[in-house]
Each structure stands twice: as structure tokens, then as C-alpha cells.
């Protein structure tokens, strides 16, 4: 419903830079976010290539200072500019009103402000890069960060500003989901992507202000020597770690919960089967958001905190793994006896299941006190978080972009090329990071630019894998560009989805829906509809 006879849609209804830069249309904002986020992903990826280039062999190549700046910029750009906004700002912005049956988010001008704040914050990180970088690690631990002469303040300012973009997006989604659901769409009839976005938004508004005040206090510490975190002034560096991780642990759930939401959508539609355990997946999203606030001390087992504290954090960390495992098992159960479509989206979805399961399982030896004593600050940790954050979030983002590509662009992409690129990415990704687990277990420390020769074999394999993985991502990009230039026109509902975004035109009109769509069934009740010829255009 809702196509315009003159063929106008949100992409072509108005044109020109100003109509895009000053738009309040959530769909245009989502597209712009995708482009900027992927651009910063490229910058962060180049920093990663520098890191892996240095680690090709055991001897120093770039030197300590350059290396420290490379891994700091890689971490800061990837965390703050890419992973935190990745799915919420891009796919979330595009889909939340559509899946709800609404014409826009609750506060469209605030949405636009979020995007502009994102660009403004990003400019500080770009300035930091251009002005010579920062070498503290993205975690900015004191006392080094309080005393380092590198461009710490501009990096902190950038991250501080970016936090507000995140907060305002979360605020917008909470109100939109509470107040603007289509008639008949109760909470338990919402697509699971919306449950994921809701849980994410709760974390965004509760956790992000804490990193804001932490970075702010660090800036004041550097400027005025106030003595909160620097022991030479009477402060406590472990206090900084508590402040920092109180946000930075929940933020990994900001990154991964939307990814879980994407997978809940793709695993059902592409196996044409009702999701297994809807209530469990919905409730587990909120449970992860809540329990995720209680585990920050597992980053600090070796900081000098008491054994009792460590034991409590360890126990609760095991607890937060449970809802996550419930999701993974539910998705696999969904696939079981489903009518699985072997296409690009399914390849990426199954890739995600493999990658994220490894990431989650390798978190367990880190959550265990006895083993973490040996694994803390080794490459095992690096591999663990890359499997969850990068493998999880990024693969889910790519999955989602492919899945909603026809809806967003009105074009189809080449399935053959897409599937080939996904295999290339998956294999090279594992080649990059599995050697890192091995090196870490054998004792290779993280953030070292030169290392003992016994780790050279694994590090070399990892670096080769990283270069190949970088190439594979360009192949994925090529699939998209080819689709934009030469892709065939997409039918209205290529995958046969029944959530409300598939009832709009492809691509949607500016105001999403002509009238007010009504929700009269759950989002995954595939069995109850007549099967239409899958590629029929409306």
C-alpha cells in the first residue's frame, strides 16, 4: 500500500545537498548514517591494517609511539564512531517507524540533531587523528591519560559529544516505541527487532551519561589537576576504571542487542518459519540490558579489587551469558525444519551464529577468575571481543543491510556475488582471529608493538588474514555499488516478510504510509498467509 503513481519515494521526492543535510526524514537520516559509519569504518580499518602490519614480525617496524597511536585510534574510532551507532542509527532509524506503522519517530528534529551532533563529535576525532593522534589506548586509563602530552583532550571532547548523539537517539526510540505503535500492535506483536532497539535505547539513556561525566572529569583533571584520578595529586586510578567500565560494559550490549534484533528478523524470514521462543527472545533482550549494568568489574579482575568483589562480578557475568545463550538456541531452533533459503542473507546469518557463539563461549574463560589471571591483557581478550563486537555487530550490520537493501534502495543485488563475498569475508575473518586466541593462550600480550619470536607464526597468520579480510570487505562494497548502478528493480516484498515495513512501497514514500496501517497478526505468522509468488511485483 502507499505507492505514489508518479513513482516518487523518499529518495527522489526532493533533491540537493540541503534537502538531505537538513532532512528530518528518518529514512534519509538512516541512509546518511550508513554512509558515514561505513566511511569511519574504513578509517578505523586502515588503523587496524597499520597495527597488523607492525605485528607481521616480532621486531619493531613502525615503532612504539606510532603503534600506540594506531591501536588507540583504531579502538576509539571503531567503538565510538562505528560500533555504537552502527545498527541503531542506521537500520534502527530507517526501520523503527516503518515496523511500528508510524510516519516518523516521535521527535524528527531531535533525530536530525542527533546526526549533526554525531558529525560534530566525529570532527573532533578526525582533528585528533590529523593533529598527531593519541596514544593512551581507547580506554584512556589514568594516570597515563592524565599526563600524556598527546591529543587526549580533543579525543575526549569528541567522545563526549558523540555520547549525546547516542542518548538522543535512544530517547527518541523509547518514546516512539511506547507511543506510536500501530493500532492492534501490542508489545507482544512487535517484531523482535523493535524489542532489541527498545532494550538498546534503555541502555543508551542510562549508561551514556556516565561515560560523559567520566570523560568530563578526566578533561578537568588534565586541565586543572583536580586530583580525582591521578595518584600523584591524591586521586585513585582504579576509581577511573570503575567509572569508565560502568558505561563501557553496557555499551557492548548497545552494540550487540540491535545485531541480535537483525538476526531474529533474518533467521525467520529466510527460513519462512515462526520464531522459536518469541517471549524468551524479547524478555532476554531486556534482561541483558538490565544485568549488563552489573558486570563491569570483570574488566578489572587484576586491578587490585578484592577477591570478593571479583567473585561477585564473575558470578553475575556468568548470569548475563544465559539470556544470550537462550537467543542463540532459539535461532537455531527456528532454523530447524524451516524452509531455509540459501541466499546471501542466510549465509551472513549463519556466519553470525558461528562467529558470535565463538565470541560468547570464549568470554567464559575470561569471566572465570582463575583463568582470567592468565588471559587478562593477552591476545585471547583481543580475539574474544573482536569475535563478539566486530564479528557479531559487523556481520549483523552487513546481514541487515543486505536484507533490507531492496526496501532501502529499490534494487536487488547479485546473489552469486553476495554469497561469494560472504564466504570470502567469513573465511578470512576466522583466519585473522583464531590465531589470536592461540597466541593469547600461549601468553602473547596485547598492545605490544614488538613481541617474543615464539608468537610470530600466529601473528603472521593473523596479519595475512586481516589483509585478506580487508579485501573481502571491499568485495562486499562492490556488491552494493554494483547493485546501485546496475541492480534490477526490486519487487515490493522480495523475501515475503509480513512485518509492516514490507507493506510500504519499495522504496517507501516520504511519509511511509498513506493511511494508518493496522496490525492484526504477529510478525512471524508465515504459515497463515497464502503464499504469493515470491518475486511478484505489486
Amino acid at each position: 500500500m502507499g505507492a505514489h503513481s508518479d513513482g516518487s519515494n523518499y529518495l527522489n521526492a526532493t533533491s540537493g545537498f540541503k534537502s538531505w543535510f537538513w532532512t528530518v526524514d528518518h529514512k534519509r537520516l538512516g541512509i546518511m548514517y550508513i554512509i558515514t559509519i561505513l566511511s569511519f569504518f574504513l578509517v578505523g580499518g586502515l588503523a587496524a591494517m597499520l597495527v597488523r602490519y607492525e605485528l607481521l614480525d616480532a621486531a619493531p617496524t613502525l615503532g612504539a609511539t606510532t603503534y600506540n597511536k594506531a591501536f588507540t585510534l583504531h579502538g576509539a574510532i571503531m567503538v565510538f564512531l562505528v560500533l555504537v551507532p552502527a545498527i541503531p542509527a542506521s537500520l534502527g532509524n530507517f526501520l523503527v517507524p516503518l515496523q511500528l506503522g508510524a510516519k516518523d519517530v516521535a521527535f524528527p528534529k531531535l533525530n536530525r540533531l542527533s546526526f549533526h551532533i554525531y558529525l560534530f563529535g566525529a570532527s573532533f576525532l578526525v582533528y585528533t587523528l590529523v593533529a598527531g593522534g593519541v596514544d593512551t589506548g581507547w580506554t584512556f586509563y589514568t594516570p597515563y591519560s592524565a599526563n600524556s602530552s598527546s591529543n587526549v583532550i580533543s579525543a575526549l571532547t569528541g567522545a563526549f559529544i558523540l555520547g549525546f548523539s547516542s542518548i538522543l537517539t535512544g530517547l527518541n526510540f523509547i518514546v516512539t516505541i511506547h507511543k506510536m505503535r500501530a493500532p492492534g500492535m501490542t508489545w507482544t506483536k512487535m517484531p523482535l527487532f523493535l524489542w532489541a532497539m527498545y532494550a538498546t535505547s534503555l541502555i543508551q539513556i542510562l549508561a551514556t551519561p556516565v561515560i560523559a561525566v567520566t570523560l568530563f572529569l578526566l578533561m578537568v583533571e588534565k586541565s586543572f589537576g583536580i586530583g580525582i584520578f591521578d595518584p600523584a595529586l591524591g586521586g585513585d586510578p582504579v576509581l577511573f576504571q570503575h567509572f569508565f567500565w560502568f558505561y563501557s560494559h553496557p555499551v557492548v550490549y548497545v552494540m550487540i542487542l540491535p545485531a541480535f534484533g537483525v538476526i531474529s528478523e533474518t533467521v525467520t524470514i529466510h527460513s519462512r518459519k515462526h520464531i522459536f521462543g518469541y517471549m524468551a527472545i524479547a524478555a532476554s533482550s531486556v534482561a541483558i540490558a538490565a544485568v549488563g549494568f552489573l558486570v563491569w568489574g570483570h574488566h578489572m579482575f587484576l586491578s587490585g579489587q578484592s577477591e570478593m568483589t571479583g567473585a561477585i562480578f564473575s558470578f553475575i557475568t556468568f548470569g548475563v551469558a544465559v539470556p544470550t545463550a537462550i537467543k542463540v538456541c532459539s535461532w537455531i531452533a527456528t532454523l530447524y525444519k524451516g524452509s531455509i533459503r540459501w541466499n546471501t542473507v542466510m549465509f551472513y546469518t549463519i556466519g553470525f551464529l558461528w562467529i558470535f557463539t565463538i565470541g560468547g563461549l570464549t568470554g567464559l574463560p575470561l569471566a572465570t577468575l582463575a583463568t582470567d589471571v592468565h588471559l587478562h591483557d593477552t591476545y585471547f581478550v583481543v580475539a574474544h571481543f573482536h569475535y563478539t563486537m566486530m564479528g557479531g555487530v559487523l556481520f549483523a550490520l552487513i546481514t541487515g543491510i543486505h536484507h533490507w537493501w531492496p526496501k532501502m534502495t529499490g534494487k536487488m543485488f547479485s546473489e552469486k556475488a553476495g554469497m561469494a563475498a560472504s564466504l570470502f569475508a567469513f573465511i578470512s575473518y576466522n583466519l585473522t582471529f583464531i590465531p589470536q586466541f592461540i597466541a593469547g593462550l600461549r601468553g602473547m600480550p596485547r598492545r605490544y608493538h614488538e613481541y617474543l619470536p615464539q608468537y610470530e607464526e600466529m601473528m603472521w597468520l593473523s596479519s595475512i588474514g586481516a589483509f585478506l579480510f580487508g579485501i573481502s570487505l571491499f568485495c562486499v562494497l562492490a556488491v552494493w555499488i554494483h547493485s546501485l548502478l546496475k541492480g534490477e528493480k526490486a519487487p515490493a516484498n522480495p523475501w515475503g516478510g509480513i512485518s509492516l515495513e514490507w507493506e510500504t512501497a519499495t522504496p517507501p514514500i516520504e511519509h511511509n504510509f498513506e493511511g494508518q496501517p493496522v496490525c492484526d497478526r504477529g510478525p512471524y505468522e508465515f504459515d497463515e498467509i497464502e503464499v504469493k509468488a515470491p518475486m511478484a511485483a505489486k
Binding site: 506510536m180 572529569l217 586530583g227 580525582i228 600523584a232 511519509h511
Partner: protein, 252 residues
Amino acid sequence: MSSEHAHADHPPYQAHFFHTMEQQNSSSKLGMWCFLVQELLFFSGLFMAYVAMRYFYPDTFSEVQERNLLSIPMGFTNTLVLLTSSLTMALAVREAQLIPIQEGAEAQKHRSNMMKLLLVTAILACVFLVIKYFEYTHKIHIGLLPGSFYDFPEWPVFKDPGTGKILGVMGENGIIDVRSAPHIFFALYFVMTGVHGLHVVIGVGVILWLFLRGKRGEFNQENYSAVENVGLYWHLVDLIWIFLFPLLYLVQ
């Protein structure tokens, strides 16, 4: 497009993506509450820093009291000023709620009352800021400054000549007391009241914006949510001061 039907039954202040004013108003109120929650979490970081520092340096905090370094009369006056401004803000919201939708004498009366109360709120906020200005300038003058800038001769700290780091308070016999840290107390004082003061300044700006909108004839009993939401923000700013004042000025 589909906007023709919109103006027939949508009041002009209703956004096209909302169905009713009730939906729009309750959405904006929920949005403001979400914003206030995150503001609270921001300040709670500062309160946590206070708790941590007070745990490490309890004697410093009592000594500030003994030496009477913070003016309790000024702080108390500020508390009364802010509480009164919360009252006038609440009354302004009430007046906005009473403005009938039909324009006329009664609408003008209530709108004018609302504007007067908003103005009084803003003026009281400025009184708060003026008193704070005097407090700050006095402290700056005598050297009660935050962190490394601390230079109060009656309670001197020892700065390491090589690095410039403050190691503690200089005792009479030349022994440095590392358990005393007035520079940290005043750092907390300036940071906490400074961030709070910044929120007061922003509040003044937003209240004056409401005043200007009132002057343009906006707001009535189905469209006053902006006034109400600014009221909520203002009450939070007041509430934070109610915690700051005893923790900084009255602590024994």
C-alpha cells in the same frame, strides 16, 4: 500528497506524524522524563566522585566546615531562591493549563500571568547566578581554587618542586600530611556547582524562549506541554541543588 486532509482536523500545532494532541503531549512528556533520567545519571557520576573522595579524605571535608570556607548564608539564600523559582515555575505551568483554546480576554489574562511567572522564575534564577558569582570571585581572590591552581595561604598545600604535583598539606613542622586534600575538595566544589550552574544558565535561556513563545500567542490548554516539560527540567535543576547544598556546605 496526503497533507490536504491534515489541516482540516489537525490543529496547527499538531505534528503530521501524530494522530491526536493527546498522543503528541504524552510523547513529549515521556521524552522529557527520559532526558531527566539521563541528566540524573550524569550528576550521579559527580556525586559518586564526591562519595569516593569523602571516603578517602574525611578529615579534609570536616576541616572545610571548621574553617568556615563556604558561606552557609549565601548557600542557604540560594536554596530559598531556587525553591521559590520552582514555585513560580509550577504556577506558570498552571496558568498555561488554564488558557482556553478560544482566543479572548480570558486567554490573554492567563497567558499574561504565565508570562509574568516565567519572567519571575528567570529573574530568580539570575539572582542565584549573581550570588554564585560573588561566591566564586571571593574564592578566586583568596586562592581557594580547584586542583593544581589551589593557593590558599592559610591552609597551604605542598607542591613537589620537580613535577608540580600536590602531595598533601604542609604541616607546621614541615611534615606533609597526605591525608589532607583541600585542593580536591575545592575541585569537587567548583566542578559540581559549576556544572549545576551551567544547567541553571541553560534553564534561564529555555524559560525566556517560552516567554517569547507566549508573547507570540502560543500555548493553550491542549498545547502547553512545552511549558510543563521545561517545568520538569527546572524542578530537577532545583532538586540537584537541594542535594548539593547540604553535601558541600553543611557536611560535618
